[in-house]
């Protein structure tokens, strides 16, 4: 059982968290023309990197999203930051 640090609540068991998305994905402006391939990339393509990853997680008990940096091989947690405008 991993322990993740919520920037608001501190270290908690992983069962309190939900993975939301890989960080850095930007929703295309859908009022403009978007090719099928670009949209499919946005929806489905995941980097799924080996090593250091940056992900968006939600702490379900406080409902706050944050960026979790961790190592996908060693499972080490490298840090977490709030996903507020001023924080990103």
């Amino acid at each position: 059982m991993q322990v993740f640090p919520c920037p608001f609540c501190g270290p908690r068991n992983e069962t309190e968290f939900h993975f939301a998305a890989e960080a850095g994905k930007v929703r295309p402006d859908t009022t403009q023309q978007i090719g099928d391939a670009d949209w499919a990339t946005y929806l489905h393509a995941q980097r799924n990197e080996k090593g250091t990853v940056r992900e968006v997680w939600m702490h379900m008990t406080c409902a706050e999203l944050f960026i979790l940096e961790r190592d996908s091989v060693t499972m080490d947690v490298l840090g977490s930051t709030a996903l507020r405008k001023d924080a990103t």
Binding site: Q2, V3, T30, T31, D36, W39, A63, L65, M75
Partner: protein, 930 residues
């Protein structure tokens, strides 16, 4: 005769007699015995049968490496299956039954199976499953497979405690190295936990005369006292069965047969692994005969329980560690005959071993003790992600590159000499790193010889022989992971503790590769079998999934509400406790004829507020919301970014910057987090606020032709006429000195009012509306009857009448897709090739012929006489108001097939049905707008 108890020696209490039975026969043992030591002391040689061939099996070893002695045990009115005889303490009055043996272990009628062994070789199950037809074999295999039947009794009081704990230093294993490590760390002021799976500390110390010049028992006692004085915590009968992510250690503490084991989730700052080592079998002909045992196991039986397997025994060993074990047995008066293992040797005997023929000479004995070399127990090291290195000297895998904050010491580290092990314990206790010392341990490599004659057993419980490994190699199952699954090698209850090294060494020899290149299979938790109850514990029923409760639960109970769980809420399915279907039909009919009262408090109520609220709700809804005026409501769909319908419901605009989203009762939590995710990611969270007020409000719905008359009885200070309060509008007012919201919104298709008050006002509201309903000839409406009414109207339930592919235009909601210009969730996905393709499943109604029966939900829609599915029935009811069955379905291109005759196919029955519009009640909406 075989098996005897000595007058002295061991750690048992000879003053406390315990009586027990095995396969119906009475025996006795002593306090401190395990089931296995007691059976051995009573001369019981056959303790079970193997899994596949039903070969007789004797006790192989004294602890977790025994694959053979698996019992069903009864004590009092409690019976547990799959009990390991070697690791379970004997209690007075226990009734033991051998598993996989009928009528008992000595006379197994299935023993005849063994004659057919050539048909049951490696890959038997795989080959049987494909040729010629698995079903021919299934009944017989099912009958034979498994390790005993599970008792059908339910023990409600057998509930495992689960504890979360933490410490600075965890020491796993209470042998000499672990004791010293725990003592050293504790005396340095660290919070130390020491876990030992035996009932007493000491480990291999019991086999040593003296440690540090002190008698071994006194030495162990001194360490134990020192640890306790230093505030260390010692848990006996406790196994560290696994290390999980972020070094969470699973501990299982046995507490006797009557009490369920206790499970700890322990987080330790550092872990010292002092788990010891096990002896390996030697692979030779008939090496599975009862009476052929592990040498180290036999010495352990003597040292701990004062039991000798027999007086006259042959010893065959290839390693230096055998000397110590033999000394223990010698001292106990055993008559040991030593022979060097040879390639051509073979055991003989009928009911058990009677000797070994070596190089053509028959050597007789009552038991044969073998030792093929020590295998360090490195399971936890691997669980935690540590690497293993092959040691040529020790012919074993040793802990290599380690996980953070973890050290291996003593025999687990390949350090088999006690003085060196203690030195490692001291270093590790101080938190120092150290180099593995050189070893005086030597052995002559002795691995299975492929091509040898006779049946040579590698996995005793699962009957995997050397030939099976050869067959697997021949059929190209050469990876050890494939070998394991193809032959079931290492998949027995001991999880390969005896079999794996021999199996992979055999594969290495067959292929001419070095052992480290062949490698090991993955070490996965648990190290020993852990009862499922330990994971279940109190996580059941209400404690696992607490239901949400209505503010009016007491009122529903008074009215005989049949309270059931619906979408996480405890809600009245119907009222009345005898014939459910009768009540449901009557409620649905009365609601249509006069008026009914329904508790809608569980409907989600999520407020969205703030300066960016309008843009936000316009984005998260498929429908255009920004044109909604305060006081108005709109039905809308929420989509996922993939364009799939996620939820539906009504959104009300309470003010310019204030919206209230009413979502499905069962979807409230997921809608809330969905909204939160989009609020925080891509928006300024300081300009939008989301608040789930579902539980703060109670909602009662009055529906039916006479609904307005009932609502009038509240005497609200507002006009509730159709002109002043039209469909899809609401008003806020005060009632009983509290806020009240009245909305014209309908899930039945009839004139309906939803009246919401603060949850604590619910009983007062009920106290007025409920009598008024009765006065107007109406009644109560449960959720089951409501489901009929909404289906008559063609109103869907998301997730029931839709599936994971349903898009809004499949439900007939096409306008936003064509016209909405602002960006919204899922918008682009509604214009992909898949979204535009013909053949999408679309919502329809189904009509049956006059007098036709109800259509089963889930029935497939097929063309008459054909079998390929064109969709399926999602909702089906008898409509008391219409007097015939109704149904909703999603059907390929259904929207343009109204009037087409098809069939509903279910369970080999075909019902003729006609596709129609989903709405069969008040299609023009006159009643709705009344």
């Amino acid at each position: 005769m075989s098996g005897l108890r000595l007058e002295s020696g061991g750690q048992i209490d000879r003053k406390r007699w315990l009586s027990f039975t095995f396969d119906g026969k009475a025996y006795s043992g002593f306090a401190g015995d395990t089931l296995a030591s007691a059976l051995l002391a009573n001369g019981v040689r056959i303790v079970g049968r193997s899994f596949k061939y039903h070969r007789p099996r004797g006790v192989w070893s004294s602890w977790v490496d025994d694959p053979n002695a698996i019992m069903t045990v009864r004590l009092g009115d409690r019976e547990l299956p799959n009990v390991s005889a070697a690791t379970t303490l004997l209690e007075d009055g226990m009734e033991l039954r051998a598993v996989n043996a009928w009528p008992n272990a000595r006379y197994d009628v299935k023993g005849g199976l063994d004659l057919f062994h050539r048909f049951l070789g490696a890959g038997f199950y795989y080959k049987t499953f494909i040729w010629p037809d698995w079903h021919l074999f299934e009944p017989a295999i099912r009958k034979m497979a498994g390790l005993g039947p599970v008792n059908a009794d339910v023990y409600d009081d057998y509930v495992s405690d689960q504890l979360n704990a933490s410490c600075d230093t965890l020491v796993v294993g209470g042998g000499p190295a672990g004791l010293v490590a725990a003592r050293t760390a504790a005396e340095r002021g660290e919070a130390v936990w020491l876990v030992e799976d035996h009932a007493s500390l000491g480990g291999s110390a019991a086999m040593l005369g003296h440690i540090d010049g002190t008698d071994h028992a006194a030495w162990v006692q001194a360490q134990e006292q020192a640890i306790e004085v230093a505030d260390g915590r010692i848990l006996k009968q406790t196994t560290a069965y696994g290390i999980y992510d972020h070094a969470m250690v699973g501990l299982l503490e046995k507490r006797g047969f009557a009490q369920p084991p206790r499970r700890y989730r322990l987080r330790a700052g550092r872990i010292i692994m002092a788990t010891g080592a096990l002896d390996r079998p030697i692979t030779f002909g008939n090496n599975d005969l009862p009476g052929i045992m592990s040498l180290q196991g036999a010495a352990d039986f003597m040292a701990r329980y004062g039991v000798l397997p027999a007086r006259k025994m042959i010893v065959m060993a290839n390693n230096a560690a055998a000397d110590q074990a033999c000394a223990v047995l010698d001292q106990a008066g055993a008559d040991l005959r030593h022979f060097a293992p040879s390639k051509t040797m073979s055991g003989f005997g009928s009911r058990g071993v009677e000797g070994v023929s070596i190089d053509g000479y028959k050597r007789t004995a009552n038991a044969v003790l073998v030792s093929g070399g020590l295998t360090p127990l490195v399971h936890l090291w691997r669980h935690a992600g540590g690497k293993l290195d092959w040691c040529e000297t020790r012919q074993a895998f040793l802990p290599g590159y380690g996980p953070k904050n973890m050290q291996a010491i003593g025999a687990a580290n390949g350090t088999f000499e006690v003085d060196k092990a203690i030195a490692e314990g001291t270093a590790a206790g101080k938190g120092l790193s150290f180099e593995r010392p050189s070893t005086s341990y030597t052995l002559t490599p002795l691995w299975p010889q492929p091509g040898s004659k006779g049946r040579q057993w590698i996995d005793f419980q699962h009957d995997v022989t050397l030939k099976d490994v050869e067959v697997a190699a021949r059929e190209n199952y050469v990876s050890v992971e494939h070998l394991k699954r193809y032959t079931t090698l290492g998949m027995a209850a001991d999880q390969g503790k005896t079999a794996n090294m021999a199996g992979l060494a055999a594969m290495a020899t067959i292929q001419g590769r070095p052992i480290p290149e062949v490698g090991t299979t993955t070490f996965r938790p648990p190290f020993v079998p852990v009862p499922i109850e330990a994971f279940h514990g109190h996580h059941g029923k209400q404690l696992w999934h607490p239901v949400k409760r209505l503010p009016l639960e007491a009122e529903h109970r008074v009215m005989n509400g049949a309270l059931r769980e619906y979408g996480g809420w405890l809600r009245p399915g119907w009222y009345g406790n005898d014939d459910a279907e009768l009540h449901i039909q009557a409620e649905a009919l009365l609601a249509r004829q006069t008026v009914a009262l329904f508790d809608g408090s569980s409907l989600g109520k999520i407020a969205v507020m703030g300066p960016d609220a309008e843009a936000f709700v316009n984005f998260v809804y498929y429908n255009t919301i920004k044109t909604l005026k305060p006081g108005e409501m709109r039905y809308g769909l929420m989509l996922t970014e993939r364009g799939i319908v996620k939820d539906d419901g009504v959104i009300a605009r309470l003010g310019p910057d204030h919206f209230l989203i009413s979502c499905s009762s069962s979807h409230t939590d997921s809608v809330r987090t969905h909204l939160e995710a989009w609020r925080q990611d891509g928006n300024d969270p300081d300009r939008i606020f989301i608040h789930d007020e579902t539980q703060s409000w109670a909602t009662l719905t009055v529906t039916g032709p006479r609904a307005r008359d009932v609502v009038a009885s509240l005497g609200l200070p507002l006009d509730i006429g159709a002109a002043a309060l039209p469909h899809m509008t609401f008003q806020e007012t005060q009632w009983n000195d509290h806020p009240l919201r009245i909305a014209r919104v309908s899930f039945t298709g009839d004139l309906s009012f939803e009246i919401s008050v603060p949850a604590r006002q619910a009983p007062a509201l009920w106290a007025v509306l409920h009598p008024s309903i009765k006065d107007h000839g109406g009644g109560l409406l449960g959720i089951e009857a409501l489901s009929i009414l909404r289906a008559e109207k063609g109103y869907i339930m998301i997730g029931k009448d839709t599936d994971g592919e349903t898009m809004p235009h499949d439900l007939g909601f096409t306008v936003p897709r064509a016209k909405k210009t602002a960006a919204y969730l899922g918008d682009r996905s509604l214009h992909t090739a898949v979204a535009n393709a013909p053949g999408r499943k679309q919502l329809v109604g189904l009509k049956v012929a006059d007098g036709g029966a109800m259509i089963p939900t889930g029935a497939h829609i097929v063309l008459p006489g054909k079998s390929s599915s064109q969709g399926y029935v999602t909702s089906s009811y008898d409509s008391p108001y219409l007097g015939h069955p109704i149904a909703l379905a999603i059907v390929t291109d259904g929207a343009r097939r109204h009037g087409e005759a098809v069939e509903a196919w279910h369970d080999n029955r075909r019902l003729p049905v006609t596709i129609c519009a989903p709405c069969v009640f008040d299609p023009t909406g006159e009643k709705l707008h009344a």
